[in-house]
């Protein structure tokens, strides 16, 4: 199962690499030279990686010089919690797109703290308020950064 997932990840990189190299075929040499110089080794290395993954070649030492994800929980629990975590992150992103930062921040904070964290109403409300206030003070009042209006608000305005 893991071997297939690894091979699939390598395959996605391989296909992306091939697409990137193929895209250069009509480009002028100034534009195409660099992506070709980099893209061709990328495709070759990715192909080797896919073949090695499919053959189940030993990885040698499993860990790369990098941090490692926790592997102490049962795989099904890890998979479910990972899906939930990504759903919240994507959900926050969609909320920002739809209703804009100023409204999405307290909404997301409250929803996560109550819905996922099972924190008390009082703590959730206070922390959501603190997050919104910090955002308003730092990014809006002090730095005057232009935050995009939500898509829904734009539609309603028309």
């Amino acid at each position: 199962m893991r071997r297939n997932a690894q091979a699939l990840f390598g395959l996605v990189i391989l296909l992306a690499g091939i697409a990137a190299v193929v895209a250069t075929r009509d480009w002028k040499i100034q534009t195409a030279m660099y992506p070709r110089v980099v893209g061709i080794p990328l495709v070759i290395l990715a192909a080797i990686e896919v073949v090695l993954s499919l053959r189940g070649a030993p990885e040698g030492e499993r860990q790369a010089v990098d941090t490692a994800l926790s592997e102490t929980l049962p795989p099904d629990v890890t998979a479910r919690r990972t899906r939930v975590a990504f759903t919240w992150i994507v959900g926050f992103f969609l909320a920002i797109v739809l209703i804009g930062f100023p409204a999405a921040i307290p909404l997301f904070m409250l929803a996560y703290l109550r819905g996922q964290g099972r924190e008390s109403w009082a703590l959730s409300l206070v922390l959501a308020g603190v997050a919104w206030l910090a955002f308003e003070l730092i990014f809006d009042r002090v730095l005057h950064l232009p935050f995009a209006e939500g898509l829904l608000l734009q539609i309603l305005r028309r």
């Binding site: 990189i13 895209a23 534009t31 860990q63 990098d66 941090t67 102490t72 990972t82 990504f86 964290g117």
Partner: protein, 505 residues
């Protein structure tokens, strides 16, 4: 010269210059802590405030802010696994692992001490090197700069793990990073590449949204999966801080070497702090005694904190050398600072080494004093800062997610920043899941634009003859050595083990 050195100190210690420096330091402290909000952006925001200032006051204000962002950026990287600055991402690899193990205090102690030493070494390099560095910088042309880029990627890719498979993935990740650098308009003819028909990608991928997503989203997901605080076990008060300080003292030679790496990368135009930290990390990994010792990196080895900590602060002094001496900014921050020179009526170049030498030395003193103050203040608040790692994950996660999205959005103030952050968050997660090293990808992305420009100029100017230039040949030999070294170490370790087994039987 000594007189100017003392005059520089006296000028910074005058109450108005010192006050401006303190304001700059306070700003830099928070800018470093907040992910995404970069030192160069803040430098640009501060420029309008220096119109009415004297040169020493202006540089005390600007450099006071800019020279400390990497110091406090390391704190965010270590505690939360979110790069406080683009230049502090390498500290995550071992620093955040130490925080997870309840050794946040030790990691912070080591990082802050290394940062201080790095800043001091960088500042003294600035003081000493100005008359000496000119021939070194001028000896490097486009072919040499291209080879330095290749050497950097080869170093980090070859040290990405143990064995040929890990090295394969290291080089694959490096190529992937170089490929991502091709997104946007090409530097030669300004033709668009891989922009997916969007205006947002015309200028390429922003480093901040990439780094924030790439490192922070996998950490947040992992924190959610574990369902605990960042530190698995409460560490109580930070007894490890002193140990971290001692670690840096113990690895003093590594600290000096990584500081010099940072200073030199700072001197070279176009490379900058984002490269310096990774090369210093690669150097720290390379300094491991044997493959088993190297295995400790990425799992909470204090040397992986000391190396980048020292380099990302020492590069500040190095960065200033070409800016002050030749008016050639080594990085985007220095290009903004160059604007500051003109705003206060100074012209970088020979005048800064003769008529305005005291102003130049006041910059050296600003870097030294600002870092001493920041490290001192950070040590005072370390206990409180590290207590954040024992807060329940469910409370911390929404705040961290908020920081990720606001931080990445500040890059271009566009929703595209958030999409890039999400994409690289997912990519970073899968790379971690399947044990692909992330550092080569980041270095490839950072160096890609530079490498492409220098490769094109070298080929257009010299054809293939540039491959025969003496310094290029030395750099090629170094690249081959860097790639071969892990195999040689592996072979020697196996040979030693075989001999020990034979001796035992």
């Amino acid at each position: 010269m000594l007189e100017a050195f003392v005059q520089g100190l006296a000028a910074v210690l005058q109450w108005n210059a010192f006050s401006f420096m303190l304001i700059g330091v306070a700003l830099g402290f928070w800018v470093g802590l907040l992910p995404g909000l970069g030192g160069s952006t803040t430098l640009a925001l501060l420029l309008p405030f220096i119109y009415a200032m004297q040169p020493v006051q202006a540089f005390a204000f600007l450099l006071g802010m800019h020279s400390v962002v990497a110091t406090t950026g390391d704190i965010t990287s270590i505690l939360f696994g979110i790069p406080g600055e683009g230049t502090t991402a390498a500290s995550i690899l071992d620093g955040h692992e130490m925080a997870k193990k309840g050794e946040a205090g030790r990691a912070l102690g080591a990082s802050l001490t290394a940062s201080l030493f790095g800043a001091l070494i960088g500042a003294f390099a600035l003081a000493l090197a100005i008359p000496l560095v000119r021939p070194i910088v001028l000896a490097f042309g486009s072919p040499e700069f291209f080879m330095v880029s290749i050497l950097g990627i080869a170093a980090i890719a070859s040290l990405s793990g143990r064995g040929p498979r890990a090295m394969l993935r290291g080089f694959l990740a490096g190529c992937l990073g170089l490929m991502f650098a091709a997104v946007g308009s090409d530097p030669q003819a300004a033709n668009l590449r891989y922009t997916l028909g969007t205006l947002y990608l015309w200028e390429g991928l922003g480093l901040v949204p990439v780094l924030v997503g790439f490192f922070a989203i996998p950490e947040i997901v992992d924190l959610a999966v574990r369902g605990s605080a960042i530190a698995g076990a409460p560490s109580g008060r930070l007894s490890g801080v002193l140990q971290g300080v001692k670690d840096t003292m113990h690895h003093w030679w590594l600290t000096i070497r990584c500081s010099l790496v940072g200073t030199y990368i700072g001197i070279l135009p176009g490379l900058g702090g984002a490269v310096a930290q990774w090369l210093a990390y690669a150097h720290a990994v390379q300094s491991a005694k044997d493959p088993v010792d190297r295995e400790r990196f990425g799992k909470g080895d204090v040397r992986g904190v000391i190396g980048p900590g020292a380099a990302n602060n020492s590069k500040e002094g190095g960065d200033l050398i070409p800016t002050v001496a030749f008016g050639i900014p080594g990085s985007s921050s220095m290009a903004i600072l160059l604007g500051g020179f003109f705003l206060v009526g100074l012209v970088p170049g020979p005048d800064m080494l003769t008529r305005h030498l005291a102003v130049t030395y006041s910059m050296v003193w600003t870097i030294i004093l600002a870092n001493i103050i920041t490290v001192g203040v950070s040590f005072l608040f370390l206990n409180r800062l590290a207590q954040l790692t024992v807060i329940r994950g469910t409370v911390l996660i929404p705040f961290l997610t908020l920081l990720i999205f606001t931080g990445s959005y500040t890059n271009n103030n566009a929703l595209g920043d958030l999409v890039v952050t999400l994409f690289f968050g997912l990519l970073g997660y899968f790379m971690l899941r399947f044990h692909w090293p992330r550092a080569p990808l980041v270095l490839g992305l950072v160096l890609g634009k530079v490498a492409e420009r220098y490769l094109w100029i070298s080929t257009a100017r010299y054809g293939l003859d540039w491959l025969g230039r003496p310094i290029v040949l030395v750099l090629i030999a170094l690249t081959v050595l860097v790639v071969a070294l892990p195999f040689i170490q592996e072979w020697r370790a196996r040979d030693r083990m075989r001999r020990e087994t034979a001796h035992a039987t």
